[in-house]
Amino acid sequence: MWLTDSSIGRKLVMSISGVALVLFLLFHATMNIFSITDALFGVEYYNAICKFLGANWYALIATLGLAFLVVVHIAYAFFLEVQNYRARGRQRYAIEGKQPAVEWSSKNMLALGVVILLGIGLHLFNFWGKMQFVEIQHIFGIHVCETALANATNGVLIIKDTFANPVYVVLYLVWLGAIWFHLTHGVWSALHTMGLNNDTWMPRVKCISNVVATLVVLMFAAVVVFYFGVSLAA
């Protein structure tokens, strides 16, 4: 199978899974913005989305698909990293020079990825574990606390609770910073790997990369900062 045996095939898997995850992030970030507009205009669109994406068959299939993408992306990351480490040889350079043209993020994608993975763990614990997971347990007849079940689709309440805690605010902002660095290299690198680049488009794809990364991170960070502000005002 050339997707595992050839270097470009392996990179293609990395880029396609990566781009799919970026598209998910764009959707997720857009959805989150409703939690702010709801608070400002007194409507309940965000919780409607939470209900829509609860333990329904289509949402569960999508969740499994998403988990599959994440696993593939991480598994290939380690697979590639081990091969690359070996390719460099056992004897390392005594002095490694820096090239101004080389982005810091491009050399630290794995480290950034690990930080992002830890963030995902925290995020699943904070939100998924209190929302879809509670509903799944309920479906399988496992006893869950009544209030937890009642609040499982009340996303706004869980956001409010989580970001009233300054520790979580800081952790989430650090996490978003890592995502920003990861995406600024990841998006253009994925397009480059798919062959969608040339000398004319190089500055453009890098610009697209920065715009997408900034947009995603700003939308997520807005929710964190907004609800921390709400908690301070309350």
Binding site: W2, D5, S6, S7, I8, G9, R10, K11, L12, L80, Q83, N84, R86, A87, R88, G89, R90, Q91, R92, Y93, A94, I95, E96, G97, K98, Q99, P100, A101, V102, E103, S106, K107, M109, H185, W188, S189, H192, T193, M194, G195, L196, N197, N198, D199, M202
Partner: protein, 251 residues
């Protein structure tokens, strides 16, 4: 105006492919700033020979930046701290009096050390042998205007063809990847009508050979293009990816 400097050179010494290597520091006095880096190493070797020590082994040939034979990883950069030149074109005026200059061989699993600073770069030749040529019978030499080629393509092919196969790309890459070299060699032919005929088979064969020889996976850091003495563009890698993926999709 000639000036001289006193320097220390910290050189990687390794008796053979299997031997354990180490750094050795030598002091050199009154090195002319007009001399080239390789001339400085010649001075060092003459000194070592006069002291009945083994001279430092390093690769070099044309000494005018076109053969791709000289290598050397100097102060953390392939072909030294200056840009767009090979080691033989590097001058001692780029260094200051009292500097300690660290000289290492290319370090990549696919480029094993033969001795001291000399590495085995036959891996690149093997990649070329796998498909970096045109095997269609082109007959006698036709007039240059018989096959019209757009100026843009001709220029891009020429820029890719400026690759001298020195190995700086793989040496600079944190992943030990040879993608810039393979991309340049695939591009220079894929852009021209004579090379297009075998473009798909060439891309597949050369990438397969590159992977087989133990080069790493490209992660688009761009260190290769930044250190390339011939400024081969990173976008050649996108072209190689395109050629390869299209060839695989057709299969």
């Amino acid at each position: 105006m000639e000036r001289t400097i006193n320097i220390k050179v910290k050189v990687w010494r390794q008796a053979g492919p299997k031997a354990k290597g180490h750094f050795e520091t030598y002091a050199l006095e009154n090195i002319s700033t007009d001399s080239s880096f390789l001339e400085m190493l010649d001075v060092l070797n003459e000194k070592l020979i006069s002291e009945r020590q083994e001279p430092v082994v390093f690769d070099h040939d044309c000494r005018e930046g076109i053969c791709g034979m000289c290598s050397l990883y100097i102060n953390g950069h392939p072909h030294g701290p200056d840009s767009e030149i090979t080691t033989c074109q590097l001058h001692m005026r780029k260094f200051k009096d009292g500097d300690t200059i660290t000289v290492e061989p290319w370090r990549s699993a696919a480029f094993p050390v033969i001795k001291d600073l000399m590495v085995d770069r036959r891996a690149y030749d093997k990649i070329i042998q796998a498909g970096g040529f045109v095997s269609v019978n082109t007959g006698g030499v036709p007039d240059a205007n018989a096959i019209p080629i757009p100026k843009r393509d001709a220029d891009l092919a020429m820029d890719a063809a400026s690759c001298i196969g020195c190995g700086a790309c793989a040496a600079a890459c944190k992943n030990g990847s040879a993608m810039l070299f393979v991309a340049a060699k695939v591009s220079q032919l894929a852009l021209l009508p004579q090379g297009k005929v075998e473009a798909a088979a060439r891309a597949k064969a050369m990438v397969a050979k590159m992977d087989e020889l133990g080069f790493g996976n490209c992660t688009n850091t761009g260190a290769c293009a930044a250190e390339c003495p011939k400024c081969v563009s990173l976008s050649n890698i996108a072209r190689l990816n395109r050629e390869y993926l299209c060839a695989k999709m057709k299969d």
